[in-house]
Amino acid sequence: MTPEPIETAASPANITHHILSVLVENKAGVLARIAGLFARRGFNIYSLAVAPAEIHERFSRITIVVDADSAPLEQIVGQLNKLVNVVDITDLSPTDAIERELLLATITTNVDVQTNLMEVIARANAAIVDVDAHAVTVALAATPQACDDFERTLAGFSQVELHRTGRVALPRLGRPANPLAE
């Protein structure tokens, strides 16, 4: 059974997407403030990743892939910047950013598909991270496009489960990011 997606979201390849790297104070409820803002203003989040920031433990970095068709980027950034806990917002245009995402998938194996599956895994530079008599779990840390491709290929196999983290991103070296707000 394929789990029903909560909301059908187009792949960022097909939408005008922007990556906002948002530095926030690491305080209770800050994620709810951001999610609530997006919900009440009708801005679409394609993916979101949160982790402690590099500079200081009191900050976290939230990488939000936004659908810039749902609202002008200027509006999204302007409203986001009004949140008191938001310290800094950087717009990473997809062409100027290095993006990575982690995909984990468990696939049922049997003699019929084994060889084929191994080829697919090797071609994608994915790694087998767990295995038992009936299934393998593979991991791929790659660009979102490569993860998209790999996910499509895996659709031909009997999948048990597939998870993706949503992307994180940094500006490409030599191409300074566009600091939108301080």
Partner: protein, 570 residues
Amino acid sequence: MELTGAQALIKSLEMCGVETIFGLPGGAILPVYDPLIDSPIRHILVRHEQGAGHMAEGYALATGKPGVAMVTSGPGATNIVTPIANAHMDSTPLVVITGQVPTSSIGSDAFQECDITGITMGITKHNFLLQSAQDIPRVVAAAFHIATTGRPGPVLVDIPKDVAQSTMTWWWPETIEELDLPGYQPTVSVNTKDAKDAADLIAAASRPVLYVGGGTLKSQATVELLAFAERTNIPVVTTLMARGAFPDSHVQHLGMPGMHGMYTAVMAMQRSDLLISLGARFDDRVTGRLDGFAPEAKIIHVDIDAAEFNKIRRADVTLQSNVRDAIVALDAALVTPPDLASWWTTLRDWQERYPLAYDEPENKGLLRPQAVVEAIYERSAPGTIVAAGVGQHQMWAAQHWKYESAGTWINSGGAGTMGFGVPAGIGAKVGRPDATVWVIDGDGCFQMTAQELVTARSEGIPIKVAILNNAYLGMVRQWQEMFYEERYSEVYLSPDLPDYVKWAEAMGCVGLRATTPEEMRAAIDTANTINDVPVVIDFRTDSSEKVFPMVPSGASNDGIVVHHSQRDPS
């Protein structure tokens, strides 16, 4: 100095200059009410928490200082949600203290627990859930800093009972840095290049309009506005939130724009080639149908909040600044104001053809509500403060009263909160006790919050309330008459139930009734001589009266409907 959290909270409020708190105690906030007895802060005990919130708003709008309200957890907190949302929409500086269940009980569905920081996340500028008593001075100071700087707004501080009961070592943050708000930098300064670009647009304009919004009052820019308007001879419109920012008596004032604006104010914006928006936000009640709004106008958008830029209407030049600094910068950058002689000819022609109109004031049957507003204006002291609820009476009060100075018009603009008038008027009177305060209310609105007149009587706050009693939810009735083929659905209230005179008397107020123009004038004069208790006058008005002009909902402003006496026979 060792203090309890409760003592620290009251002391912090004193440090922030708080003179008055509007509130109502309850279980979770009990500890904080104890040190209040020993504080010089005046506490006004309301009869419903919504009243506390609107009073704090009225206080803030009349004085320019932040309003403060304090209530308990759970239903006390949810009852003040409407005023918080109202203050958020109208950018009114408010600090709301709510009690909370002890930290150990949070999340357990304890008695009178509710997640008020969660509930108010989208309707506050910011909110805090206090975690420790030591943090109280910083959080209270931060709450006032956030509420009053940048674009003002409501800030909520939730204090769990155990935090109020625990002890702390007193300290007070002396610098902004100690407030620990790394993500909050409200100070902006005008970009001189942008000011130059804006001045160039002004110099080149032939049909400019100063579109004055509430931000002009918030930044206390009325003196600068007057000087700039007079130097440039540019016509002025003041939005519902900006009534009083520019004198209504001034020859350059075209009046209020919008759905029930003056014809000339609406059409001046429609035909303008340059709108200079000063702390306004292109609200749908001003623009009408957006694709038909001011089609030829370039836009200079001045706002302290950058998120307002290009939200509704794309601007040609944006100036992120408070309105006062922006006007000063525009004035400095503008070398030669444009010649507007032909624009004024057009405007004066409209003013002559389409003044504010209603049927003859000396109505044989019931009173004209517009005539009541005008009579109160004529018979009351200059500088009288008017507070209104929401609906027809609010529009008549905005149209037919002459506002000459800041803080004389107090109303619920963005949220449109019925019942705002009586408590907001009480708050205004507390903030400016020397001013006469008239609440111009509707019968529907009055019934929502009238119990606060008990507060007014017991606390010695002598406001005057004019109920324009047309026995209907009048604005809804007007829409049903005009757009629903006179199918009146659930709008009739009865003129006699309740008996407003008896109700006023039961609340310790003077109750009067006026049905004829003579009674109307006599009742107003009587009310204006009573200065010790609140007065309520039940004015019996004609329910068929409608607010004109009107831009029908969803229509372009070009479709403005004027009073029937001004319509073409065709």
